[in-house]
Symmetry: C2
Subunit: 455 residues, 2 copies
């Protein structure tokens, strides 16, 4: 090792690879080793549902490498050592060592570090009923998961998706795009339960139903049916759903086993607690990415909202700091965006429901406008709910549903939320107008105008 | 008149009608009269080039009413009196009266006001060579202008557009959409000269040329050629351009004659000077809309940038105040957006060129990314120039060129500019990401990241 600082990074996807790249830039001399228990690094996990739905054309030619941003060879060329199929099985934070098992070679070794980054991500939750030997039952988190689903879909006609969050909804679109009969089971009273308020959830469900997804709400899964080692259906409290393939998308849990073993404190969310430098309570140990909680700038509370941009940003901050620099994670404002078929949805800040749950005195307005001038061809509706604090007029959040590209304007509110702006700041913004791009008063301005008069 | 406040509004398009509506809401008792010298009120002037290009489907069925937001009858139903074809020919601000000529009846009358709003807009500039009796030479500002162009294009094959600003460019697209041979003459060294910096202007020109517009730069018009009372060509300093129709789009000038007659002070821009309440120096006389200058929040200077949102906003402010309320115009940040064919462009704040001209010590970065995840179908390039003040990192402006919908993200920077944010504020924003909507790091964040390191 000589006198070089040795940085070990556990996990080679979003946060881990961002950290490695930033650490390298910050300290050209540091020794940087990424330990990844799987076969793949630096892949776009968010792209997996789309790949299954045929929205990644390069998949035909390049295979799953189409989703890989940087290969191990490219990382090595930048002086970052990447070890695939290396699983960290133990940690001694006082000694500053990891126990690492090379899964291919079957060897275990001890690796010393000066600074350790836990970028261990999340794992999909498998409810008890989904722990099965039956073929055809899948979660979707990694490329091997997607490969297994792809293989499983061969010859399948009926798919049952369990869970109506981001991934369940994206999978529903993908399965319909493949021409499969698709049932979506949602335990709660509507899809997108943790993302949007009720009326906006209903709009997304209507689009799913319009495109042939059989959405069944308020249904809990009791178990699976199988025949000859293969799943044949899902048993719910309301009956039986025939299915050749079952996709389980009921949420994720942070991978915190290693953190626990290192004596790292977890937060009230169950994810790793860190300071703004991504440092844990254990000296020399940082955490970043989906396994880590983060500050919500609107509520000032710690939250666990695993999303790709946050993961990359945390990794970047951790990488700079591990390598001797000084960077701070600014927190998040809970921005999210997704689409089903030809309808997009986005949210930032707090929904009305979340704001009320946080004990805030809130007021919301709902506005329907068009994504661009109504007279210009192909104008489509866009609906906005804008939420503020009653009395102060402080912006709390926005939700949009409409033509996919139209909902990206959520970013305007997201940027303002970072600066604790109020609704007048939004109303006064000089937003871009021309007939193909928006109404003269952009729908966000219309909403702000109404909200100003009520907040 | 009894005891009712009498509000006279000169001009019935964007600012005038916004003012009338707001004044009515503010004061249900006021007598509100809109004097419009033309045949049409409340029409979407910005839609005219698109209407000529076939992008307003309802035009087939409804005629030019397709571009009218509110008819005189609808205004009357709200208690707002609208007098079409009424031209204001004189003003006595001390007496509080206007001289008004009813152009249809040929009568002149005197109208008293308690408060007067000048919402007289702009007129297209007609250079000396364009003042002609030849048929087939047009400007485009009003519905009658568009009707005249429509009639003129009947049987035409070759069109020459003079001027490469917003309207000239939109007309070029419209003429090509009609299958016409189209020459665009630009006096300056490239199109969009007052809108974008050089490299971004070149991108827009390339799209025009790709779609068959013959763009001729650095060419001044010397005169017109005609035959039998109809235009046949344009003589430039570089030669002759054959044309059956000539569209003159070389800019606009504010209509300030009435303001001058009322003793109203003009600003250094040549447009009417007002305070934040849209009040002129003459008591009882306000001004709003394209005839009025406005505060640029980035430079803190008065500017004259006639655009629809500003006009509507000024009208609204003027209307509230005239009717006894209190509203303030927040200023603008110079946001603009347009497209040619399948390429959009947007800008906000200052271009690098404008910032330098304003004496600011600036630094810019140029970034090329894709509008959404590169692996997701139909990803297209989007280019961003982000400009900040060197030393302080204060954001000064952004320019974007890319797929039309992708450049609307300029609004994020526009909203931040209003709050005098710096580049770190942009970088830290929690912008929306999913593969169909953006790259993990949105192109704006990538640009902010690079700019932070240089500013």
């Amino acid at each position: 090792m000589g006198g070089k600082t040795r940085l070990l990074i556990v996990g080679g996807v979003a946060a881990g690879m961002s950290a490695a790249s930033r650490a390298r830039r910050q300290n050209p001399d540091a020794q940087i080793v990424v330990l990844e228990r799987g076969d793949w690094i630096s892949y776009a996990a968010c792209g997996l549902p789309y790949a299954l739905g045929g929205d990644v054309p390069d998949l035909q030619e390049s295979g799953w490498e189409a989703l890989v941003a940087r290969t191990p060879a490219q990382m090595r060329a930048r002086g970052i050592s990447v070890r695939l199929n290396h699983e960290v099985t133990g940690v001694d934070a006082r000694a500053g060592t990891l126990t690492v098992r090379d899964r291919e070679a079957g060897r275990t070794s001890t690796e010393a570090y000066d600074h350790l980054l836990l970028a261990t991500g999340v794992s999909p939750i498998r409810p008890e009923w989904a722990v099965t030997d039956l073929a055809g039952v899948h979660v979707l988190k990694s490329i091997p998961d997607a490969q297994a689903i792809e293989a499983s879909l061969h010859g399948a006609r009926r798919v049952c998706i369990v869970g109506g969050g981001y991934i369940g909804l994206e999978l529903a679109e993908a399965m319909r795009a493949r021409g499969l009969s698709t049932v979506l089971l949602e335990r709660g009273d509507d899809v997108a339960g943790r993302v949007l308020d009720d009326p906006y959830r209903a709009l997304m469900r209507a689009e799913l139903e319009r495109r042939g997804v059989d959405v069944r709400r308020c249904q809990s899964v009791d178990g699976l049916h199988g025949n000859a080692g293969r799943v044949t259906g899902v048993q719910t409290d309301a009956g039986r759903v025939q299915a050749d393939v079952v996709l389980v998308a009921v949420g994720v849990r942070p991978n915190v086993e290693l953190a626990r073993a290192a004596g790292v404190r977890l937060g009230r969310t169950g994810a790793v607690a860190v300071n703004a430098r991504q440092e844990t309570n254990v000296p020399g140990v940082s955490a970043a990415g989906d396994n880590t909680q983060s500050l919500h700038r609107v509520t000032r509370r710690q939250v666990h909202i695993p999303l790709a941009l946050s993961a990359n940003r945390m990794g970047r901050v951790a990488g700079v700091n591990m390598a001797g620099g000084d960077a701070r994670f600014p927190g998040i404002v809970g921005t999210g965006i997704f689409k089903v078929f030809d309808l997009g949805a986005a949210r930032t800040g707090l929904t009305q429901g979340e704001a009320e749950a946080a004990g805030l005195n809130t007021v919301s307005v709902d506005v329907v406008s068009t994504d661009h001038a109504g007279y210009y061809r192909d104008a489509r509706p866009v609906q906005v709910r804008l939420t503020a604090e009653r009395g102060t007029g402080r912006l709390l959040g926005a939700q949009l549903v409409g033509a996919p590209q139209s909902v990206k304007r959520v970013d305007v509110v997201a940027a303002l939320l970072h600066r604790r702006a109020n609704v007048t700041d939004l109303f006064e913004a000089d937003l871009a107008y021309a007939p193909p791009f928006s109404t003269t008063w952009d729908v966000l301005l219309v909403a702000a105008d109404r909200l100003m008069r009520q907040a």
